[in-house]
């Protein structure tokens, strides 16, 4: 047994850390939030140059064939600095669906994602179908007309291609849709963690037979795998948040003086921070378990991702709430980073099933 990261993995983490520290501080993030794109073109270019946009794709798709461990490293670091680039939408959700498929044009699309020149979003969620992703109401008729509404499409407004889940002839399908095609309309909304998601409506949109990415069991397996991987990634992001929450809180309480001493002298705060530390270590342990199970493609991989997601959903939010509380008024100030961890934790718990939902997958 060896639970250490490889040298390459450590180097990857250092690379990402360097980027986060030098090019993506909180002020930079604020600029990105206020920009029209809601992502940073230059950062995205840099991600492509560093190979971060292609690293998780298979070698035949032009990637490095990196797995869930490398993705978890990246997301953990993103969580620490609250990076809001549309990585999850492009690489993890849309990208892994394409990569796992036998779609004829997948290499071209994955190259587009990898080079940063193309944004692709996965439209898998619907309003009345909470967490039931394999039985969408969106329908593809025998004449290949697409009708329906998809919500919570991450980064949808920047997408030049969409992957849409739908039912045709009682069979689950994943089809490629051009958002500029006739009959497609959308609204974009802000997410609580300062990203964007869109709601798309399809009205008699013509789908070319060649734009079916996958169907039947193959399509449902691909989607479930992609969502499981995405759940792992946002959970890794939450682990990063939890680590930062406890570290920043410890640092703040050492600096903040009240009653003629640093407030870190007070035992009640010490114990609270110890709990935050323990919960973040346990989260890290569950992350190790989950990413290793996914990496080895074991039959327990879904269960262990659920265990992780449930833990970070509950304790991540608790840690962030404690961090806010211990920062006092500073914790609720928009211009301080600490309150944004809480928003991220709310977003993580909301996505792909919350803590209670994943608890049901255990046992």
């Amino acid at each position: 047994m060896n639970l250490s990261y490889t040298e390459e993995q450590i180097m990857l983490r250092e690379q990402i850390q360097k980027f986060c520290e030098t090019e993506y501080d909180f002020y930079k993030r604020e600029e990105v939030v206020k920009s029209d794109n809601d992502f940073d073109e230059n950062a995205w270019k840099l991600f492509a140059e560093q190979g971060w946009l292609s690293m998780s794709f298979s070698e035949e798709s032009g990637g490095f064939g990196f797995g869930p461990i490398e993705l978890s490293i990246l997301f953990e670091e993103f969580g620490k600095t609250l990076v809001i680039e549309p990585y999850l939408a492009n690489v993890v959700l849309a990208g892994s669906v394409l990569d796992k498929s036998n779609f004829s044009r997948k290499v071209e699309l994955i190259e587009g994602i990898s080079s940063g020149s193309m944004h692709v979003s996965l439209a898998y969620a619907e309003v009345a179908k909470s967490n039931e992703y394999l039985t969408p109401s969106t329908n593809l008729s025998v004449e290949n007309k697409l009708n329906g509404t998809k919500s919570l499409v991450l980064n949808g407004k920047n997408a030049s291609k969409l992957i849409v889940s739908c039912i045709k002839n009682n069979e689950f399908h994943l089809v490629l849709v051009d958002p500029s095609a006739e009959g497609v309309s959308f609204n974009s909304f802000k997410t609580i963690d300062e990203q964007t998601c869109a709601e798309f409506t399809f009205e008699n949109v013509n789908i070319d037979g060649e734009d079916v990415i996958a169907y039947g069991e193959e399509a449902s397996n691909i989607l479930i795998e992609a969502l499981n991987l995405a759940t792992l990634c946002v959970s890794a992001e939450a682990v990063g948040c939890m680590l930062s929450c406890y570290q920043k809180t410890v640092q703040y309480t050492k600096e903040r003086e009240q009653f003629d001493q640093p407030i870190s002298n007070f035992q009640v705060l010490q114990h609270r921070m110890v709990d935050m530390f323990i919960d973040s270590e346990l989260a890290k342990s569950l992350l190790f378990k989950a990413m290793l199970e996914v990496d080895s493609n074991s039959e327990n991989k879904y269960k262990h991702v659920s265990a992780l997601k449930s833990h970070v959903g509950k304790y991540g939010k608790l840690s962030a709430q404690n961090a806010v509380q211990l920062h006092g008024g500073m914790g609720v100030s928009e211009e301080m980073m600490i309150g944004h961890y809480l928003k991220k934790m709310v977003a993580v718990d909301a996505m792909f099933g919350n803590a209670d939902f994943h608890l049901k997958n255990i046992g």
Partner: protein, 389 residues
Amino acid sequence: MDINFSKEDLAFRDELRDWLANDYPKHVKDKMDKGEHLTRQDLVDYHKALSAKGWMGYNWPVEYGGTGWSATQLYLFNKEFGMAGCPPLLAFGVSMVAPVIWTFGNEEQKKRFLPDILDFNTWWCQGYSEPGSGSDLASLKTKAVREGDHYVVNGSKTWTTLAQNADWIFLLVRTDSSGKKQEGISFLLVDMKTPGIEVKPIITIDGDHEVNSVFFTDVKVPVENLVGEEGKGWTYAKFLLAHERFGIAAIGASMRALGQLKEIVSELDNPDLDKKVAEMEIAISALEMTELRLLSDLENGGHPGAESSILKIKGTEIQQGLTELFVEAAGEYALMYPGAGGYGSNDKPSGPEHAAVSLERFLNFRKTSIYGGSNEIQKNIISKFVLGV
């Protein structure tokens, strides 16, 4: 023992309900019911409507134009107004500075300030916390130096709620640094229009502008605006904070929220959430009964002291817990947040109607366990004065 209210109390409750049904300004009610933001004018209209009814001085003695209500009546007032979804009364004038003025101020100050508070002609804000002085309020540094017939004030205050709307601020200042930090603090009343005062917004994580920093540069305050004696401000400050406790349990508002939550949850078929809502209902019931027990004790001549900190701790835990359950009830749609004030007339996403308001409350209510003496400080108070350790 008798858990029922007296006939008189029930008649009083009916009078409250009658006002809420007929005289609660409609435009304010509409906005509150929809979770929309109130403007300054809305809040003025609401308070003036209460003044017109003679209820603005709800916790004042009759002598100064107040209602002279009993503790039970005060409780009913709070609960009925909370359950009706009314905005909480702005405490700064009517229940913070006013009791200080009538208890420690001179006749001239009583005449000058109290009637305008009662009629809501002046909007007050609270100049207590400073960047370096939160829980340890007595360490405050804003300085007032006596020069002839006025004080010159320099320094800054923070987390000043709705200072952007305020006409006056009551201020704790340091007039002497030579002794213990609790000594040498004085209590000043300052016109916000005085030259040298600058209000800067602080935006909170819900995206709203509710609190501010207030900066004082060579602000001249006439000596007649000093309340009581120079150097006795700490006594007055503590007296004021004791008054702030009243109604902090927010039972009525929490009961209303619980009712709304139950309606939402009843459509969800989510047993986990059902269980959490049931637990919340028990917590609210326990807290309400605790408040009633304290009240009964008070009316029977008792002096409940630090026990009232239970109301602050549990009251705010319940308020926050409720907002968390609303967010859970929004499910995946808790992901979308348009910022303070909701979507307005813009396109709204699908998903639960309540999601945006629920997220706003969730983020906004983080403050409740921090302000008014943080819950950690409240627990210190209980351990010192109740447990005696």
